[in-house]
Symmetry: C2
Subunit: 236 residues, 2 copies
């Protein structure tokens, strides 16, 4: 998938001969065409996935909506799994970029971390309220897939989550530098644990709906943040 797979092994100086340029340009034009087609599949899938009865869309539907053919689909994706993976990676990337923008407005340290947690919670939480871009909203619908990916293909999952993990790790690092975070916690792991706690608590808000009921996403987000920050122990 990478652009620079020209040299198949041999170490070679960066001779930019006209010949190579021509080849590269030819390959490039083919590649942009291919990428355009792939993108049409991805767009169609995104439309389907956050279209009310999403998530369990069929390959046929993607093909029809994208105005292409089944043959093309299997020429670009080895299967539905790979499409979902690409979708998920895009959603994670878009989400982390979105978070990056939103969070930049807060001052580094605890306020930024707070905003980060609450905003991510709101993105993951299902509900009609969502003016986020479609690609970001798609993340919501992929909770189930995320779970499956995390358990069945940990390697791929970890790769897909990299943008979000690094973002959280960075923001956590800023907060730690500001002296707001306990210094005895394992850095890298904390980001993952916090991310998971937010995601899955937002995805499934109803595990204790027999005891408590809530429709206030903002309040739930704050409560989760409070729990993550302060823990449940009574201060001594």
């Amino acid at each position: 998938m990478s652009a620079d797979d020209a040299a198949p092994g041999q170490p070679r100086a960066e001779v930019t001969s006209w010949r190579e340029l021509a080849v590269a340009r030819s390959l490039d034009s083919a590649r942009v065409r291919a990428e355009k087609r792939v993108q049409r599949f991805l767009d169609a899938a995104v439309e389907l996935i956050n279209s009310e009865r999403g998530r369990d869309f069929t390959v046929q539907e993607v093909v029809e909506r994208s105005g292409q053919s089944l043959r093309s689909f299997y020429q670009y994706f080895t299967g539905k799994h790979e499409l979902l993976l690409a979708l998920f990676e895009d959603a994670v990337r878009a989400t982390s970029e979105h978070l990056e923008e939103v969070v930049a407005a807060e001052e580094p340290g605890l306020p930024r971390l707070h905003r980060c947690v609450v905003e991510y919670y709101k993105i993951c939480r299902p509900g009609p309220k969502g003016q986020a871009p479609e690609t970001v909203a798609a993340l919501r619908a992929m909770g189930e897939f995320a779970q499956q990916l995390l358990t069945e293909h940990p390697k791929e999952a970890a790769t897909a989550f990299v943008p979000l993990v690094t973002l959280f790790d960075r923001v956590l690092g800023e907060a730690a530098d500001a002296g707001a975070i306990r210094p005895d916690l394992t850095r890298g792991r904390l980001a993952g644990v916090v991310l998971q706690a937010i995601m899955f608590n937002a995805f499934a808000t109803t595990i204790s709906s027999t005891l408590v009921r809530s429709d206030d996403a903002a309040a739930d987000a704050e409560e989760l943040w409070d729990l993550l920050l302060n823990g449940m122990a009574r201060r001594s």
Copy 2:
């Protein structure tokens, strides 16, 4: 499905005539037979589900392994979904009973809560180490289904989780009575949030495997407990 659907609408005194007794006895015997058959299906499914390549077993396999027929299967279950639901309910029930036993040995309050959290983490965490009864171990393999259930059928999910939620709520209540828990947290919700945090962090340990790697389930359990209890904020 219920046994007492004898009176189809009319209000009737509890006349225990011999006629009704006979009918009841006949129905009872039919019911125990039915329950035996259902149990055979469930047992077969449990065997399959924690048999290495579990989770995605087929209805045919369940039927074959149980030595019964497809027809019988669809006579007792409306579909595969219902089988999974029954399996899940059993797993939750068995797990909460198991936890109840283990936890009874600890003194009420924080120690019991700690044990509860750590033990539940170990049950949910995948891995070769598991001398827990089969029914309990089955819970591990149903992480994906739990997620699906939580998002697509919140009502059923909440019902299925009741035993675990009430157990955790009780233990949390004991700890709160002992003065170890912040009194300003919403009681019922806390149980659900804690349960979810443990479950999904145990199910998917690898979200940040690009940063940190760990094979020590006990240490991870303690770390999660520490985070839940004390939060990530530096003590003032």
